[in-house]
Symmetry: C2
């Protein structure tokens, strides 16, 4: 049986399918993964930008013992080409382009205004008026052509601002992988239905849809499949019209688990079945003739969610190339565990519920008690998985670093 | 001038405006803030749930030295009422409801099947068959009526699963605050336009829209306002048709900053102007007659983003009651700073760009160098603000804990 690292590497090495790109409006790009870098169409700032409301003058012509005479007002967006005589100045506003005839700006509050008003102003003694003051020089932040946001970035609000500033009103992004989702099981009814004493409501398709959306995929719930061979033959194929197919339930050792058989008929080749982890051991993984990745996830809600976070999300991220060109290798997150904890499972890797919290010593992860692997109420309090490795009985003492996978 | 804590407290104490609730479909609830708790409509699990494909029998009637005779098959969703004689068993599947005549399940792999097949199976010697094995008992996770997800939770994928399981096909959530956004400034053109040598493209309205969306608000970009009194009188009022109005630019000491005047004419009372922070000092805050919160943010893109994260996001969260009933007071996040850093600003609080990263020692925050407060390219590399307090020249040595505000 494959272990966690082997299974993850196997899944990722079968992801031949890199997403193509599409063009979206700037406003729609938040959270999308760029397929091309964003470069500066002109230097940033594009001109010597005034950083303070004040008086602009030429430093070499300035005599601080004489009042400045205000020649004219320069607002942001105003182009001014006139020259300044010695001890003349512009009254200039934040965001304006500094006229070529000036090189220094001193804020208006640092002057004594003659008769309380412009146009005569004397610099207060002791005030700084060094050359270049309060100017954000052209090109200081970026040269024309410089890369500002790298391809493979997941667009943040601040990056959207940079894109707007350089005229990227439309941007090229990776197409979102289409993930089709089926729940399986005769015991399932819809959330709006009243289950009988032996039925439960479908919850996994909602959870998987949400996790897919959060991971940057386009998730489609296709409904609930019956544990019936001819029904499956009729319906399962539509799940392959996408990039990834997620099935929850139907892949364990039950006599009525027909799904692997029907998948094989549909041209899906099994790559592995079962991983030596707890929970989530029954995971089934296969690839279709056309490269669709098929995950047969356990019906148990906790196992399904653990498998999604361990295996499916990394695949979605790989398909869109998230972070691949940012230079920094994705690092394993390690945090101090906030309680003593003993590994109870004999499987090589156990994943328990964790909650990342702020403490006086920084970020820590709190393990959350549950009532076994079916307890999705406790699981819903978690925002991370804590990986416990080693033999059954291995003790993790409070404060020691553990590997954490954020959900 | 107010300091950071005073300004934040002032803003929050003026937020009288708690959002009303609305009902949305379960599928639409991801990331929304619940206005009512989710309670279990029946115990969880709702029946004695079988956790393993196996044979189910009554422990007190079982003789492990004799083969079990398989009476019938019990699938998930199947209701079975027949009784078992001693050493009879059901072949039962994961997820099925355990019939009342059985109390123990042993997985199928732990039996020797007579002639390789059911219906005769002998337990392998040494296998555990303790009473109650592989049963997830009715009510183990939650009693009927128990609160499963508290009001004021921001719905996660796992919580959506819990909601589906208990039949919350529609859920009550807080209405999203409507945030209207204007950029101001005659120097601004749209991202799709080619600016002249002294113009720049509007980026702040895109950044603010995105930050609002990420904070759970319904953001509306209303366009760019001209620095012109009659124009402002004609257009500014439409910004008050919401819960919050954000203006970027037009609130500094420039002679053409008419916005405070027009806001006053529209019934907006100034609460404060300027905060002793760097960047973001020129912040203007007021409240309209009808309780709309108005933020006059500086035009400088970095200052605007810092102000949003320090003051506007907490207001949006307070309006929807995010986390207020979860019992845990929002804790200040403190992380080790990964480099020596010296506070350069004399203002009581300086906020510098940071990036939260994984290190061998856990999570740390890396300060990011910039080219002054106009450098939104460097800012776009940050995902957090690092708060530096104390006198100019205060040194923060690598590894010491600093206050971090995530963006």
């Amino acid at each position: 049986m494959l272990n966690y690292e082997q299974a993850l590497a196997t899944v990722l090495s079968n992801t031949a399918h890199a997403m193509s790109e599409e063009c979206v409006a700037l406003e729609q790009s938040l959270g999308r993964v760029l397929s091309r870098p964003i470069v500066a169409d002109r230097p940033l700032p594009p001109f010597n930008r005034v950083a303070m409301d004040g008086l602009a003058f030429k430093h070499s012509d300035f005599n601080p013992t004489l009042p400045l005479e205000i020649k004219n007002e320069v607002l942001a967006g105003m182009e001014v080409n006139n020259s300044l005589a010695p001890n003349q100045a512009f009254h200039i506003m934040t965001g304006a382009a500094l006229p070529a005839s000036a090189d220094t700006v001193v804020q208006i509050e640092h002057f004594e205004l003659q008769s309380g008003e412009l146009p005569q102003a004397l610099l207060q003694s002791g005030r700084d008026y060094s050359c270049g003051l309060n100017i954000h020089p052209v090109g200081a932040d970026a040269a024309k052509g410089e890369e500002l946001v790298s391809a493979s970035s997941c667009v943040t609000p601040a990056q959207m601002g940079v894109m707007a500033a350089v005229g990227s009103s439309e941007v090229w992004v990776k197409r979102k992988p289409v993930v089709n989702i089926f729940s399986t099981g005769d015991e399932l009814v819809a959330p709006e239905d009243i289950p009988t004493a032996v039925q439960i409501r479908d919850s996994n398709s909602y959870v998987l849809m949400s996790f897919c959306q959060r991971s940057g995929a386009n998730a489609k719930r296709l409904g609930t499949l019956k544990d019936d061979l001819s029904y499956l033959r009729q319906h399962l194929g539509q799940g392959l019209a996408g990039d990834i197919l997620l099935l929850s339930g139907g892949v364990s050792a039950g006599t009525h688990d027909y799904i692997p058989q029907v998948l094989e008929e549909l041209g899906v080749t099994q790559v592995f079945h079962k991983v030596a982890i707890k929970p989530g051991k029954p995971l089934w993984f296969g690839v279709s003739d056309s490269g669709v990745l098929v995950f047969g996830l356990p019906g148990n809600p906790v196992s399904t969610q653990v498998n999604f976070n361990l295996f499916v999300r990394p695949v979605i991220h790989q398909m869109v190339g998230l972070g691949l060109e940012n230079g920094d290798e994705p690092k394993t997150l390690r945090l101090p565990i906030s309680l003593d904890w003993v590994k109870r499972s004999p499987r090589p890797d156990q994943f328990i519920n964790g909650k990342i919290t702020a403490s006086e010593q920084g970020m820590v992860v709190l393990p959350i008690h549950d009532h076994g692997s079916g307890d999705f109420c406790s699981f819903a309090k978690a925002d991370a998985l804590i990986r416990l490795s080693g033999d059954r009985g291995t003790t993790y003492s409070a404060g020691s670093l553990v590997e954490v996978i954020r959900m």
